[in-house]
């Protein structure tokens, strides 16, 4: 994939990201609704759902809704040195309203910086303890003079709702594939605007998929509280129906591919994720359950144990711009990066759709020659795809899955799809 060869889908996803960039997404609030409404432009099946503040969801309580009209810090001369409207990462998530005059020393107590990345604004939240705060770059803080400052936060924190988006797509069978992405971060690109925009385009592709076998459940939630709330409401049907799926996060930069396992590490989603990534990029990063940090923590928690893994580009907490204002659409996320993330998950979904347990209908080797599927001339050589066909046949005992056979053949599963079709048509195998 060189620069000239970036698939168009990469640009489409990237352009959507630019449109959604400025919203001040959080775990609740108007901008979450606006984001979801925008997504309905791509998929009409997306429904915006809400859960009321105060609702108990397992061990948690849905918090009050948070909205921000304005927020700034002015110096003694009245210059805005921090302006929420210019970069929403400056404001601590869930900051309470505030209006006051402070000395530099007093102000400093509510300012957060990132010592490891002195030019970037760190992303800070305090969802469950009432606080206020701003973050700024270390270099900006160093330049601040000892003078009086005015602080203004025009936010509201009141009973309201937590919103999420849900797309349900019916397939031939009731068994479902779950795609989950989170939308609680403001203007941060890879983590996780990339997830939101990639997921909606995956939804669009799935809606148009011919002969879709599985049903799909695609959700856009705030991280942690959102997945806990969703599980609290839908756990039983999810446990009954979900056979695989992915948490979609950090799918937009072009530096690496990464795989984060489910808790058990041995679900179909894990197998598929590793297979796809290994066939896209042998050097893909194999993370472990120790690197968990997103909604897989809920989906795979004891007793929940849904078969959810993660296919990412560079994973959360593993790139230097992570959770800072540098995680943006210029420095980190690119059309090429998004196209790669989209493609990997698409291939993984396809692999789950196409996976099967081929079973020979003929004892011993079938005579392929009489069907025109094999050279009639006995020589030393054998063609690459003939060899793959022979492998499919030799493993077609109804116990090896197609993905297992592809793995054993050191070939991507997508190379087998056409061959499987032929072998079914020729009544050599059934699936």
């Amino acid at each position: 994939m060189d620069a000239n060869n970036i698939p168009k889908i990469g640009y489409r996803i990237y352009n959507l990201a630019k449109k959604l960039w400025h919203y001040n997404r959080s775990i609740t609030g108007i901008d979450n609704r606006k984001t979801l409404k925008h997504l309905q432009g791509i998929s009409k099946k997306l429904k915006i759902k809400s859960i009321k503040s105060g609702k108990k969801v397992f061990d948690w309580v849905v918090p009050d809704e948070w909205n921000v009209k304005d927020a700034w810090i002015k110096d003694a001369k009245g210059n805005k040195i921090i302006d929420f409207k210019k970069n929403n990462v400056h404001l601590m998530g869930y900051s309470i309203p505030k209006k006051c005059d402070l000395t530099f020393e007093e102000l400093k107590k509510n300012i957060f910086v990132d010592h490891e990345r002195p030019n970037a604004i760190p992303y800070i939240t305090s969802y469950y303890k009432k606080r206020w705060g701003f973050s700024m770059s270390l270099n900006q803080l160093k330049k601040l003079k000892k003078q009086k400052y005015k602080v203004f936060i025009n936010s509201s924190l009141k009973p309201g709702v937590l919103n999420y988006g849900e797309i349900l797509i019916k397939g031939k069978i009731k068994k479902e594939i779950l795609l989950s992405t989170y939308m609680c971060h403001p203007s941060l690109a890879n983590d996780n605007l990339s997830g939101i925009v990639t997921t909606i385009y995956l939804a669009k592709w799935i809606e148009e998929l011919k002969d879709r076998k599985y049903s799909y459940r695609i959700i856009f939630i705030p991280e942690t509280i959102g997945s806990i709330a969703y599980l609290s409401k839908h756990f039983k049907e999810l446990k009954k129906n979900i056979i695989g799926g992915f948490n979609i996060t950090c799918v937009g930069d072009n530096r690496a591919y990464s795989y984060l396992p489910s808790r058990s590490g041995n679900t179909l989603s894990d197998k598929v994720a590793k297979h796809v990534l290994n066939n896209i990029d042998k050097k893909f990063v194999r993370l472990t359950w120790f690197n968990r940090g997103s909604d897989e923590r809920q989906y795979c928690s004891p007793g929940i144990d849904l078969p959810i893994a993660s296919i990412m580009r560079t994973a959360f907490a593993r790139y230097p711009e992570y959770h800072t204002s540098d995680d943006n659409l210029k420095k980190v996320v690119s059309p090429k990066g998004l196209a790669g993330g989209y493609n990997a998950i698409k291939l993984a979904i396809e692999a789950i759709e196409k996976n099967c347990y081929p079973k020979a209908k003929i004892m011993c080797m079938p005579q392929l020659g009489k069907r025109g599927l094999y050279t009639t001339l006995g020589t030393k050589k054998q063609n690459h795809n003939t060899r793959l066909m022979m492998n499919i046949l030799t493993y077609a005992d109804g116990k090896n899955s197609l993905i297992d056979i592809a793995e054993k053949s050191h070939r991507p599963i997508w190379d087998t799809y056409k061959i499987i079709e032929i072998l079914i048509k020729e009544k050599i195998i059934s699936i």
Copy 2:
């Protein structure tokens, strides 16, 4: 094993190979019957069986019988430039009758050469599509002049029979060991005249084996169509009785030992093959199911799944002379090579015969000293075979097989046979 130490059996097997060398073996025909009749001179138990042309065997049909009286190509001056009677590899297997005059360009379309081995005649067949053809060395082809040629093939292709040889040897129990070798190649030495001659001498050894536990089924068949036909006829009894066995091919050169697994790779035959080869030659070649290419493809096909592995010297398709006239008794196969192949399979059969599940009849360590089996003096040292005896005892829980115990002890199983006898006699273990 230095030159002076080649076991006599190597020369005996080699001499038989020389006698059978010139027959034009194929999947059917008179020379197959002649080969089998010759083998009856070594084992009277060998029975020559036949299946009629046209018989449906699973997905295949037994083809017409092919016989050749003569075949040649003459140049414009009437010189025979190719003569089947001098080397039967020249004639494409199953060539139809032909008599015609051709230009060089016309002739060339039916001539096969091996570009990788310019001095050798490649071995070519066309069993299931009616064709004619000759093969010659690339260097011979290069020298041919543009002139008229006469082609003559006095072959017949008519309904007849497919022959195979079968030796059934009764043991104490009905469970069987299968040895299968193929005899469809004309004058090619390692692949697989070596298999034919080694197998008949193994049959002779088995017939003379004292206290034979297992019954034996030893078959000489044409590759692929022969094993499919045999399975089609005997599948149920094989499935019921076969507990292990080997496909015997390429056992005649002295360059390496090789192991090709069964499809599952974990049968008793696999375990034994690996154990024996590891104790003969630690550097033996470990092939995988991907290197399959002989009748293991049928014996291990889905639903058949017999426990058949292969112990070879240099395996088919893995030596430069393979499927050319260079695979002969001078360049490739030797008495030393055959002696090694024979010995390895003999040790493997013995290991299956002797394998057992020793079970201690005494709780805690037995007092070996009072039985004269252990030094009565407590010092620091312990003898090599005493240590092996102690290992047998410590693992004698009725769950570890003797071969497992030998493996755990890093010793060949044959070192345990005498010790097992002693321990049984001393009533310390039962098997």
Copy 3:
């Protein structure tokens, strides 16, 4: 642990070893009883048991009791060149009485030396064949002149008893942990005076252990015949109740830590031993069942199969002073060595006591913040012990043991004890 930091327990154990040093321990005899009586000073629960000579125990017979009053060799001038009273290792264990004059050549037949360690006296026994003998250093033997020698052994070998010590400590449940150590060697320090003195102090610690869950069975026996005799008498109750335990030997030198597995290698004791040693000293020596040589041979013999592993410092037969007079309290065993051996086994016992199967009482992640167990500020970092708490929670499915969780977390199990207490108190998990 530097020289100044040797725990006091190391000195206490070492001082006891000095007091027990001179006794002429063997598989029977007065000095075994004296040793056991001395141990009663540390643990009043220790009971001295006896089994009569001639008693059949599985495949063995309890031998006559052996006692020695004096033993020496004098040269022609009447000088004692060997004196049992100066070093009891000189006398072959179970030497029959002897009084005679011998030429040098005659004497030499009953003298044992260690060619690999020319200055040391080797330790020799002949329990089950009536013999007499002395051992001396090779260098001493080389200097002996060709003259007459007087030999005197005032020993007795008569029906009596085999003694052993037994401590039974009740816990909350009937399931037991077995500690076994052997006391059949005379003045040899690491093998196994170190085991005797360490075990009695472990018994003392166990007696004082608060909230002891398991019951304990702690035995001081002669090696081999003692464990066979004990198993012969108590096998059924041991098989029913023992859930783990250790054979305690060679726990006194400071050169290494070693682990010897049970026969199966996968018992709780094995898991705990490896976990503890890996967290004490990553370079600990991993022995295999091939290195067995002590009472694990009985405890793990087929059909007995108790879950007994060994935690040692430098293991028997693996240090140059082994089974010679150089295995003494100056050259080999030290307070530091003993403190380390004691500590490792104590940690292992504690790990078995504390091991449990945590099970989450809450679906999805619990909200730790509201309980003050987690920072309420969302930033990039996470504390070391918070991370361990999160790991315990994510694996708390009732199937992972605490030791498994500690292993997965790359942390010692002892770091989890306090966290488990908190999580139980907070009703987040049950065990």
